[in-house]
């Protein structure tokens, strides 16, 4: 699909999702316009709430990027959640138990160790996929459960902080914490790291031979192999990269927000990253924007939650609906055709002349 076409589908999917949730809100007895307005005001109301937009966006950006880069090779890495948990865990351990390092070194080292743990997890999942022809989706779903319970076990048992009432590990050291961009907020340099990764991924995909091979393997594996591009090697590289990024995202949560690993900390940021990637049509630069968009919805919905009885989970419904529409672009295209035809009949002819670069069916 051409770039403009993709953007159109992306925007229309979001609109469609918002409309559907508006109906749900209306059935619940509230005014959708009122609620959406509150979301907007809640998100942009103050300096702290704007900081909240981007701090909410940060973990979503990492998981979104992780899912997007895997998808470019047609790998469906629903295990981003597990890789994030892994990264959060390793980040908490490296952050709390490595002593005597200056700030920059400790923080960076923690991030890298976390990233590598995610990379190993990605390698393992890919190995199972390649060696045993297993479906990565199934393996990933299992991994999510495994990591969730391993994390829970560690937080409840061996790594539990002394004297803590809830399942959480020791606080990480000051030297491992990420610098805050806005004081007293949760917005840290993590956001900038995420944006940098997004730009790096965009560059790799469009400008390098590796990125080219990934796109070939994702578009037509057989054609690639006919011309000497081995898909298997690329699956490994992509899965490892995806795991690396997701795990760094998890560690950014640990080092930037929670300052420790607690049971259920990652709590769905991995899964919601899939929506973020979908809305961005799996374009790394687009992920920066789509994660910020969901950051707005998340931040705003927390405000709504304070003042109404609507639970902020309905924002999750929006995110899920987006995935549905992006995955089945034909739904959006059918809707567009339905309204578009009526629009065309109303508008003068010259505004609706056929564009020369649209796709032609085979003759």
């Amino acid at each position: 699909m051409r770039a403009l076409n993709k953007f159109k589908i992306s925007v229309l999917s979001l609109l469609a999702a918002l409309v559907i949730v508006a109906i749900v809100i209306w059935i619940s007895g509230y005014s959708p316009i009122d609620i959406y307005a509150r979301i907007f005001k809640g998100a942009f109301g103050s300096k702290m709430s704007i900081a909240l937009i981007f701090s909410e966006a940060t973990p979503l950006m990492f998981s979104g990027l992780a899912f997007a880069i895997a998808f470019k090779a047609r790998i469906i890495n629903v295990g981003v959640e597990s890789q994030m948990i892994m990264g959060a865990l390793v980040g908490a351990i490296a952050g709390a138990y490595i002593h005597g390092l200056p700030h920059m070194v400790h923080a960076t080292l923690t991030l890298l160790l976390a990233g590598m743990s995610g990379m190993l997890l990605g390698f393992f999942i890919c190995f199972l996929k390649v060696r045993f022809h297993a479906q990565e989706v199934v393996i990933c779903i299992m991994m999510n459960s495994i990591l969730l319970y391993v994390g829970s076990y560690l937080a409840n048992g061996p790594l539990k902080a002394a004297g803590a009432g809830v399942a959480q590990t020791e606080t990480i050291m000051e030297t491992a914490k990420l610098t805050k961009l806005i004081p007293k907020s949760q917005l840290t340099t993590g956001f900038l790291i995420g944006a940098a990764i997004a730009i790096a991924l965009a560059f790799i995909l469009e400008r390098t031979v590796l990125g080219y091979k990934i796109r070939v393997a994702g578009n037509n594996r057989i054609a690639g192999e006919t011309y000497g591009i081995q898909a298997t090697k690329l699956y490994y590289i992509t899965f490892m990269l995806s795991g690396f990024i997701a795990a760094i995202g998890g560690s950014v949560l640990t080092q930037g927000v929670i300052m420790r690993f607690s049971d259920g900390a990652v709590a769905g940021y991995g899964f919601r990253g899939i929506s973020v990637a979908a809305l961005a049509m799996y374009n790394p630069l687009g992920v920066i924007f789509s994660s910020s968009l969901f950051g707005i919805l998340n931040a705003g919905s927390q405000a709504v939650n304070r003042t109404t009885t609507i639970p902020y989970e309905f924002v999750d419904v929006i995110q899920v609906m987006v995935v549905v529409f992006i995955s089945a672009p034909q739904i959006i295209q059918a809707v567009e055709k339905f309204f578009g035809d009526r629009l065309k009949k109303a508008l003068p002819k010259r505004l609706t002349a056929a564009k020369p670069d649209q796709e032609l069916p085979g003759a």
């Binding site: 699909m1 051409r2 469009e206 400008r207 390098t208 031979v209 590796l210 080219y212 091979k213 796109r215 070939v216 578009n219 037509n220 057989i222 054609a223 690639g224 192999e225 006919t226 011309y227 000497g228 591009i229 081995q230 056929a354 564009k355 020369p356 670069d357 649209q358 796709e359 032609l360 069916p361 085979g362 003759a363």
Partner: protein, 516 residues
């Protein structure tokens, strides 16, 4: 009495008018040949009749009555059935299951298997198809699969049968069988429309010829008796076209590619048996044969996609082995059998497609970074030199017509001047003028002193293009000769295994002792 009349049909797609005020009629018991280049609108016109597309303007009349055909089911209810170029059969199921699907005779909630078998068997017998309804479709030859598709239509009481490029993949004898069958269907009252590029078959079987060009009707009352192939080609394209394009090599040099004792077994079945041949510089070696006799395995062995069990391949005395990458590095260019599954990434732009296989070349990348400007220049060069019709080089490959896609794949292979070109089915599904062009480019390439291995299921093509040819039957080479040594009918016999060349032959002057 006209069974079908289409009047004033118009159909546009974004950016193009596919069918432009076309009138089309079909009489009862008539065979019409619908000729035209790719993009001429003939498939679109028939798709409208079959209910796949809706016309923007125009009406369709069936036996004088106006009808609306909104979906293929409506067409089938009227008795209009279409057999597409790409068969729509389920390989894992039997012939019987494939034929009755959607129209199963029922007994309560169960399918009446016995009645189904009886009905299908009687159809098979009535038309002399010689098929066993319980065979799995995956075990059938291409020609037999086509007969199953036709049976499907007959089972649905087809009064009008539309065939899209039916002879594209058949051996000469199978083509004769098909044409005979169509004639007996006509005798039984069925009306038939054949969409085709094959001028020879048109002249043989059609009662009437309809020509479309660029969506417009050029003529619809030509009879084979009043015309010839050159005239038909001229009507299709609008200019003169050279029909007899044999261009024997003027300068064959030393042996370049040498294949010795190549053997390959797949799943316990021997697919290639002791293949021996060589190709000189400046020579085209054609491989004739019905699909499924080892061509795919031969192609895969010669391009690194499969490792042969035994034998060796040498190029200029250098032994070649390894994977596809290794073969490409060693000077093998490959134009694959199936351009959409093996040759193109349809959802990527032409620039990405043009460098497939060339990602290690210095003009494409340096130190792992793509050289965008050079790639764009190369793509544009390919587009220009091979006359690929496209607005620019960044449209998606999907937007190109079949002929233009194939031209791009050929351009990509030929522009890097590899020693050997391995090309399979170069003009399958391609219209006459693109075919002429592609063949021309292959000749030009050969004349630069390169070696070409041309594998094609179309004997006419092999016959026309080759300096020497071999016939592949059942994994073995059963004939090696110059095209001028045998007639096409004789070669057809070798293709079907009726004859086989005796291995003892005089190497010096190439005469063969033929064993019948």
């Amino acid at each position: 009495m006209q069974i079908i009349a289409m009047q004033n049909i118009c159909k546009s797609f974004p950016g193009t008018k596919a069918v432009d005020h076309v009138n089309f009629s079909l009489g009862e018991g008539e065979i019409i040949s619908l000729l035209g280049e790719n993009g001429a609108g003939k498939t679109t016109l028939m798709n409208i009749l079959y209910g796949i597309h809706q016309p923007d303007e125009g009406e369709i009349y069936f036996r004088g009555e106006r009808v609306q055909i909104k979906r293929p089911t409506d067409a089938i209810d009227l008795g209009i059935c279409m057999v597409h170029q790409h068969f729509m059969l389920a390989p894992a199921f039997s012939i019987l299951d494939n034929i009755i699907v959607g129209y199963e005779p029922k007994r309560g909630v169960f399918v009446d298997q016995r009645k189904a078998l009886k009905d299908v068997q009687s159809l098979i017998d009535r038309f002399g198809f010689q098929l066993d309804p319980c065979t799995k479709v995956s075990e059938l030859s291409v020609g037999e699969q086509q007969r199953v598709e036709i049976l499907k239509a007959l089972y649905r009481n087809a009064k009008v049968l539309i065939l899209d490029e039916p002879t594209a993949v058949l051996a000469p004898k199978e083509v004769d069988d098909l044409l005979n069958m169509l004639q007996s269907l006509r005798a039984g009252g069925t009306s038939i429309v054949i969409i085709t590029h094959k001028l020879k078959e048109t002249m043989t079987i059609a009662d009437r010829i309809v020509v479309l060009r660029s969506g417009k009707l050029i003529c619809d009352d030509v009879r084979p008796a009043n015309t010839n192939e050159s005239e038909l080609a001229r009507l299709m394209i609008g200019r003169e076209i050279n029909m007899d394009t044999r261009r024997p090599s003027q300068c064959a040099g030393d042996v370049a590619l040498c294949v010795r004792n190549l053997s390959l077994t797949e799943n316990g079945i021997c697919k290639l048996r002791n293949i021996n041949f060589s190709i000189r510089k400046g020579e085209i070696l054609g491989v004739a044969g019905v699909e499924g006799n080892g061509q795919t395995q031969l192609l895969e062995s010669l391009t690194g996609l499969t490792q042969a069990d035994a034998g060796e391949i040498t190029l200029n005395d250098k032994r070649i082995s390894g994977d596809a990458f290794s073969f490409i590095q060693n000077g093998f260019a490959h134009v694959p059998e199936d351009r959409t599954t093996m040759g193109l990434m349809l959802n990527l732009p032409l620039t990405d497609n043009a460098i497939l296989g060339h990602h290690t070349q210095s003009f494409v990348a340096r130190k792992g970074l793509l050289r965008r400007q050079e790639i764009t220049a190369f793509t544009n060069h390919c587009i220009e030199k091979f006359q690929v019709k496209t607005p620019n080089c960044s449209v998606l490959a999907r937007a190109l017509s079949g002929g233009n896609q194939q031209k791009l794949i050929m351009a990509r292979a030929l522009m890097v001047e590899s020693e050997v070109l391995v090309v399979a089915q170069p003009v399958r599904g391609i219209d006459v003028s693109a075919t002429e062009y592609i063949h021309d480019q292959i000749f030009n390439y050969r004349d630069k002193g390169k070696s070409v291995l041309l594998v094609s299921a179309d004997l006419d093509e092999v016959y026309q293009m080759s300096d020497r040819l071999v016939v592949l039957y059942n994994g073995e080479i059963t004939l090696e000769c110059k095209p001028s040594d045998y007639t096409k009918e004789e070669i057809g016999c070798y293709m079907l295994g009726v004859r086989k060349q005796c291995p003892s032959r005089n190497e010096e002057d190439g005469t063969a002792a033929v064993q019948q």
